[in-house]
Symmetry: C2
Subunit: 220 residues, 2 copies
Amino acid sequence: VTVRTGRPPVTSRAEILEAACRLIDRAGWEKLTVRGLAAALGVGPATLYRHVRDKEALLLLLLSEYVGQIARPELPSDPRERIVLAITALHDALAAWPWAAEVLTTDGFVGQLDESALWTVETVVAGAIDAGCTPERAVAVFRSLWFYTVGEILVRAHSPRAVSRPAPDDFLAGVDPARLPRLAELGEQWPVLAEEDTYPAGLRAFVDGLLGQARIGSWT
Amino acid sequence: VTVRTGRPPVTSRAEILEAACRLIDRAGWEKLTVRGLAAALGVGPATLYRHVRDKEALLLLLLSEYVGQIARPELPSDPRERIVLAITALHDALAAWPWAAEVLTTDGFVGQLDESALWTVETVVAGAIDAGCTPERAVAVFRSLWFYTVGEILVRAHSPRAVSRPAPDDFLAGVDPARLPRLAELGEQWPVLAEEDTYPAGLRAFVDGLLGQARIGSWT
DNA sequence: ACCTGAACACCGTTCAAGT
DNA sequence: ACCTGAACACCGTTCAAGT
């Protein structure tokens, strides 16, 4: 309404991405709307569509920039440890930015990422090959670990924030001990156990299983 | 507008759930809206809120009914095979109804499911205990396999439908062979390999790893 | 007393009209 | 020629007004 000249107050994608990043960090990613982002930049919502195809493209742009900035840790010589380290780095980065995983499930995500974000994939695939996998099996190893990682992040992201214990009393208390004996035994212990971070241990177990299978050769 | 009497044309939740199911099967779960569902039932949107707290509750209701109807397969005596079978049954049911997994990531899903849907969890936990895990570790085993399953379903559900091969030419063709040698080697093979169903083999590897770890006792 | 049309407060996206 | 306000076609949810 009160904008003076006709020259663009929005410079480019860089400014848009920076503002989007700021909004997410401040108010959570659910609050990132095209209109809100435009308002934060002091422009009309239509303006953003001059620089980005649609909202999904914006999120993908935001994500690949973020993933590309993951600090690359020093890699040990043991292939198994290299795989664990690379996937853990990816996991920790995404877990810190839970909305990212939601975007990563879309499309063939690998093709959308730029080269700086692909070192994780390269490290895992190379590690699997060094551990005795064929290239085909190495891709399957990466994808399996990726499914596990995405699932953990999404389930965790959607879990109720563990600020206060959310009424664990009636959790598995009502189950029939005759039909579900183990769960009845666990009872109110479940919610406590379900909050524990078992990702690292599970990851190692998975890598062991995948590479062990490769050595034995029982992969179908 | 043209409804005659004041008596409810909507009987109960059962009718709502049935109509929702029909709408999803016909047009996909993205098309299930409160307004559309109400229209399909010939009532106003406000009416549904007499029977269901909100849309999420509706989806959860729909889901637990569906999961409860999973055919319970005959279980083999080997605990490892019991685990594989139970999780596979859960996976296949959810993969056939991909929107379900999206709902399952919300909240503490286990507490929301009714007893008939919990046999899968019971079977996995019991199998892990029979294989030598402590109850605490058995819960971790279930959760790990659950993450893997949810991740696979979500990534698959969001992948482009494999109706026609979607331009695999420029997929990993541009990567620098010096920095990402293994990926460059794979090149255009990646999209082909990424479409393969590696869930069953990965699941067995994961179970092997988790139970092997339990036996050896290296779980941290 | 019970039900619900119409309204509320939002979305992402488009396009004709403005500068 | 370039930018964008206002409109379009939707959402889930609420509540005052109707029967």
